[in-house]
């Protein structure tokens, strides 16, 4: 697990990360969401032991990360701006990492390279941006580390490659309990792969929740009352996060389980009563609007 406790980091006097605490469980995909300057990359680089927090602690499996090769053997970091050894080929990078990570699998590397259609003998500086990202992911997965840290890794991939990558990560999670921490400024990107999402804003954590918990706890409900006066009765008993009305159609987002909602509307006569699935974006908007932040701007940039 990765524990981040009261971490504070400034750049030239301005806080980049401010008293941030997060707990990332092993074996799950943790998504860090936020706009540019929210502190995602800074946080990830601190987790990767590249930069040191001004205060607070970051530990992986109970051990501090910074300048700790024992801990660093446990993760592979894929930064947003990739770097490869000068004039190297894919196989040169594989050889380089094989010397660093004791569990690096050259066989698996070659297999994945073939699957992605990448030539290990070709010079990396002739790769496109997307191909370089693919190569980075292949190298990361081939290292067989327990943690994979990805900084906006999916942003350069086409949908097919993105899906293929997600599949590989899923397989690795299943086979060896790989824990993945990934950052993005695109919520839709994280939605179908993350187990836990943290929303960062101006160096702090705005929200950090399991996606399932989010989905279970919040429901979207469409109702048309037979008698419009019954709406007051129902609304009193619901914990409403959002309420929109179009004529007689009421659309509620309520913090209730389906069973609880069934119980409320059991004795109310309705023309239409339907519980709809919520997207992660809708959940986030609802949750953060309560706090007072305009999540649209945060999510969509």
């Amino acid at each position: 697990m990765i524990d981040i406790t009261d971490v504070y980091k400034t750049y030239e006097g301005s806080p980049a990360v401010s008293n941030l605490s997060l707990h990332m469980k092993g074996g799950e995909v943790f998504g860090l969401l936020g706009t540019n300057g929210a502190g995602k990359t800074t946080l990830l680089r601190m987790i990767a032991g590249i930069i040191k927090a001004d205060s607070g602690s970051i530990t992986i499996d109970g051990l501090p990360v910074y300048d700790n090769p024992v801990v660093k053997e446990k993760f592979f970091f894929i930064p947003d701006e990739l770097y490869f050894l000068p004039h190297s080929r894919g196989r040169d990078m594989a050889r380089h990492y094989a010397g660093i990570y004791p569990d690096f699998s050259t066989e698996e590397f070659n297999t994945m390279m073939e699957r992605f259609g990448l030539d290990p003998a070709r010079r990396i500086n002739s790769f496109s941006k997307g191909m370089k990202k693919q190569l980075a992911v292949v190298l990361g997965l081939s290292s067989h580390t327990r943690y994979l840290l990805c900084d906006e890794t999916f942003d350069g991939l086409d949908p097919v490659m993105r899906q293929a990558t997600k599949s590989l990560i899923a397989v690795a999670m299943e086979e060896r309990s790989l824990t993945t921490v990934m950052t993005s400024h695109n919520l839709r990107e994280l939605e179908d792969v993350c187990d836990h999402v943290g929303l960062l804003h101006k160096g702090g954590v705005l929200l950090s929740k399991d996606i399932e918990d989010l989905k279970i706890g919040v429901q979207k409900l469409q109702v048309v009352y037979a008698d419009e006066d019954d709406s007051y009765n129902a609304e009193e008993r619901m914990s409403i996060l959002d309420h929109k009305r179009q004529g007689r159609l009421h659309v509620y987002v309520a913090r209730q389980t389906p069973d609880e909602l069934d119980e409320i509307f059991d004795d109310i006569d309705t023309v239409l009563y339907e519980i709809l699935p919520l997207t992660l974006e809708e959940i986030f908007i609802s949750e953060t609007e309560v706090v007072g932040y305009d999540i649209q701007k945060i999510i969509n940039g």
Binding site: R45, I50, P69, K72, E73, L149
Partner: protein, 746 residues
């Protein structure tokens, strides 16, 4: 990852550096020696017939050392250049976020990362230049110019170059890890290498400008930074190799001497490298990785650099301003303005370079007045001599010995191969080594007197209304105090012409002074030693007096006879003797090849004054036909010509009068007042003195019809003897005939 693999990865990632090192090694150890030694080989073949008795093969081997002269400096240049490049390039990954992310996220401890990056360059250089040295040996052997001395020199040079590399490379690494980008790293490297030189330059400038008794041995020693390994390499090795790699060839003993003599310097260079490495290591560990593309990574380093440059600039501007606008006392407001502008510009531009942000020009603006104040204090201390430099006389109990010599010393022996004497002969080095005066109180008494005059002369120069404005001529001399704590203190002093004779006699008349200053014994011993090794060279002499000169050749036995006689006559020498007796000539002794094609004067060269009372010396010179009579006997003189040129107040010739005399009594009167005295160290200059120029002619001179009608033309043989006569000493008739009118004194 194993160490070997880490190294290979490192080299694979910087192939152009590997290529650069190999290229310089090929130039240094193959190309340059092949070209240089090829030329030396031809040169030695020509020389063998001329001056040396060694068989050619042996001679060629000895001459192989000739290439060490060039290689010592080219090796240094190559080494320092690639040390700077490798130092900065090896840690340039710190200047890009993506490379920092790549390397620092890997499971390699920062300490190991530093070690691998650091040592890889050292190993690369040592291996490539080691192979290069072996190649140089092969080239030397192939040209038939190998010898134990040359091989030893090559081995020594290799060791020195590696040490030099480590020293300079470590400084570059320190600059690299202190900096946030390539541009700043290069500037920082230049700063670290040059800051001590800058300090010394300013210190020298201030002392030289305001301390009237200041004497610098030679600018290069005063300005040579001791924190720069390159300085030690040059001073302790390169100069030594150049000194011994001469047309005579290189001898093993001398090479051993140079190498063993430079062991302390090697240790110092290694210590500098170790210190720089330790600082670099700590800076690397504590450096914030987010400082990519910033200026310097530590705020206190930025402040130090700004202060160092700001204060230096302020002081230099103050010195310049004071020389233009200043007066003896205080600073002109214009000087302060010049200083302020300079400091502001340096601090502002420095801030701009460090931050690369024009909006931050006035960041840490408080440093500007701080630099200005410190600059002002420094200038004030120097200008007012606040610490009493010009009044310093050490306690006699703290002085081991002294040296004392005039600044216009004519007589000191230049001895080639003497490590204390720089190539070309150096008066200060000579006296520092050979003169140890034990009568310290006498020397200090002279020094006190001389320092006071020097100080008053300076006041007179600056303040025309002061009592000291009228400058009295003096003798400039140097005093060296060798302190018991090992320090050497020099002062320049001015001795008035009416200096206490007793005091001067006590110093100049001491045995220690005479033996060191004239060194007749040393002249013989060095010459004998050289001739023992190279019997084909010869001893050249040149006897000169006021009228004429005569060259000759002396054998070693005659030299012994001469120097023994000189040593004996020297017992009468003291200051009073130089004032009361006439120096009738000088004898210059040097050694050279028989064809005079090759100049061996650096081997030994001495000029010894001959005084009228040196009876033994004069006897030896006469016996061996080395003596020139100053004048023909009076009875042989039939004519005397006098010439007088008067100058107007503008320095232009206003009139020139010539007269001739054949009357015997007038001839005798004129000849009695002729000036024979050779100009020496303790001669009195009086620019107000005027002279008549006299030509003394015999019958043969008068009858001579040479190439020129002008009997005073010195290029004509037998055209008489030319000597000056002080106008004040001239007979009245001569003054009248020459139309002499005394110049009005100021």
């Amino acid at each position: 990852m194993t160490f070997k693999r880490s190294l290979m990865d490192n080299y694979r990632n910087r192939l152009w550096i590997v290529a650069l090192v190999i290229l310089t090694a090929v130039l240094q150890f193959v190309f340059i020696p092949a070209v240089h030694m090829g030329g030396a080989r031809i040169h030695m073949m020509d020389m063998e017939m001329d001056i040396l008795s060694d068989p050619l093969p042996v001679l060629l081997q000895n001459a192989g050392g000739a290439w060490l002269q060039a290689s010592a400096f080219t090796g240094m240049l190559f080494t320092c250049a690639i040390a700077a490049i490798m130092g900065i390039q090896g840690f340039s990954y710190l200047y890009q976020t993506r490379s920092v992310d790549f390397y620092d996220s890997q499971p390699i401890a920062f300490s190991r990362r530093f070690f691998i990056n650091y040592i890889s360059s050292v190993i690369l250089y040592a291996v490539v230049y080691g192979i290069g040295t072996l190649l140089a040996v092969l080239v030397t052997v192939a040209l038939g110019m190998g010898s134990p001395a040359v091989f030893m020199g090559l081995a020594g040079e290799y060791i020195w170059l590696v040490i030099l590399f480590i020293g300079m490379y470590s400084i570059s690494v320190l600059a690299a890890v202190l900096s946030g980008n390539l541009f700043i790293a290069a500037l920082m490297d230049a700063f670290l290498c040059g800051i001590e030189f800058l300090y010394r330059l300013i210190n020298f400038g201030c002392m030289n400008g305001w301390f009237t008794t200041m004497y610098s041995l030679s600018d290069e020693k005063f300005l040579t930074p001791v924190s720069l390994p390159m300085s030690w390499y040059i001073m302790r090795f390169a100069v030594g190799i150049m000194r011994i790699s001469n047309p005579w060839g290189t001898r093993t003993a001398e090479v051993v001497s140079v190498l063993s003599g430079s062991l302390p310097a090697m240790a110092i260079c290694l210590a500098i490298g170790a210190a720089a490495t330790a600082l670099a290591y700590n800076a690397f560990l504590f450096r914030k990785r987010e400082m990519v593309q910033k200026g310097l990574c530590f705020g206190f380093v930025e402040s130090f650099v700004k202060f160092a440059l700001g204060i230096s600039g302020g002081v230099l501007a103050g010195m310049a301003g004071d020389s233009i606008f200043g007066s003896m006392f205080g600073f002109s407001p214009l000087t302060v303005i010049v200083m302020a502008v300079t400091v502001v510009l340096i601090c502002v531009i420095g801030e701009w370079i460090l931050s690369l942000d024009i909006t931050k020009l006035l960041r840490r603006a408080w440093q500007i007045p701080a630099c200005l104040v410190v600059s002002g204090i420094i200038l004030f201390v120097f200008k007012t001599d606040a610490f009493g430099y010009d009044r310093y006389i050490p306690k006699a109990s703290e002085v081991e010995s002294c040296a004392f010599y005039p600044t216009n010393s004519f007589s000191f022996t230049m001895i080639s191969g003497d490590e204390s004497i720089e190539w070309g002969g150096n008066r200060d080095s000579y006296f520092a080594k050979y003169m140890q005066l034990s009568n310290i109180e006498d020397v200090e008494a002279l020094a006190k007197l001389g320092m006071e005059k020097q100080r008053l002369d300076q006041i007179g120069e600056m303040d025309a209304d002061s009592d000291n404005a009228y400058y009295e001529y003096d003798w400039q001399a140097i005093v060296l105090y060798r302190m018991k704590n090992g320090a050497e203190v020099y002062r320049r002093i001015a001795l008035p012409y009416d200096v206490d004779r007793t005091l001067m006699d006590a110093v100049l008349g001491s045995k220690e002074y005479r033996e060191a200053y004239f060194n007749p014994k040393g002249v013989y011993e060095v010459t004998a030693s050289v001739m023992n090794t190279y019997p084909k060279i010869q001893i050249n002499t040149m006897y000169s007096n006021r009228a004429t000169s005569q060259s000759g050749i002396m054998d070693i036995d005659t030299l012994k006879e001469f120097t023994d006689a000189y040593e004996k006559d020297l017992s009468a020498y003291d200051f009073s003797m130089t004032q009361d007796e006439i120096c009738i000539g000088t004898l210059d002794i040097s050694i050279a090849s028989r064809s005079n094609t090759y100049d061996f004067s650096m081997g030994m060269n001495q000029t010894l004054p001959i005084y009228e009372n040196y009876t033994d010396v004069i006897k030896v010179l006469r016996e061996h036909n080395m003596y020139c009579e100053l004048l023909p006997p009076k009875e042989d003189v039939v004519k005397v010509i006098s010439e007088y040129t008067q100058w107007d107040e503008y320095g232009d010739e206003s009139q020139s009068v010539t007269g001739s005399y054949t009357d015997k009594s007038r001839i005798d009167q004129i000849m009695d007042e002729l000036e024979f005295n050779m100009y020496g160290e303790w001669s009195k200059d009086n620019y107000n003195d005027e002279y008549f120029y006299i030509t003394v002619l015999t019958e043969a001179d008068v009858a001579y019809t040479g190439d020129s009608d002008d009997p005073s033309d010195y290029t004509n043989k037998n055209c008489g003897v030319n000597l000056p006569m002080l106008v004040n000493n001239a007979p009245g008739f001569l003054k009248e005939d020459m139309g002499y009118t005394p110049m009005k004194s100021e």
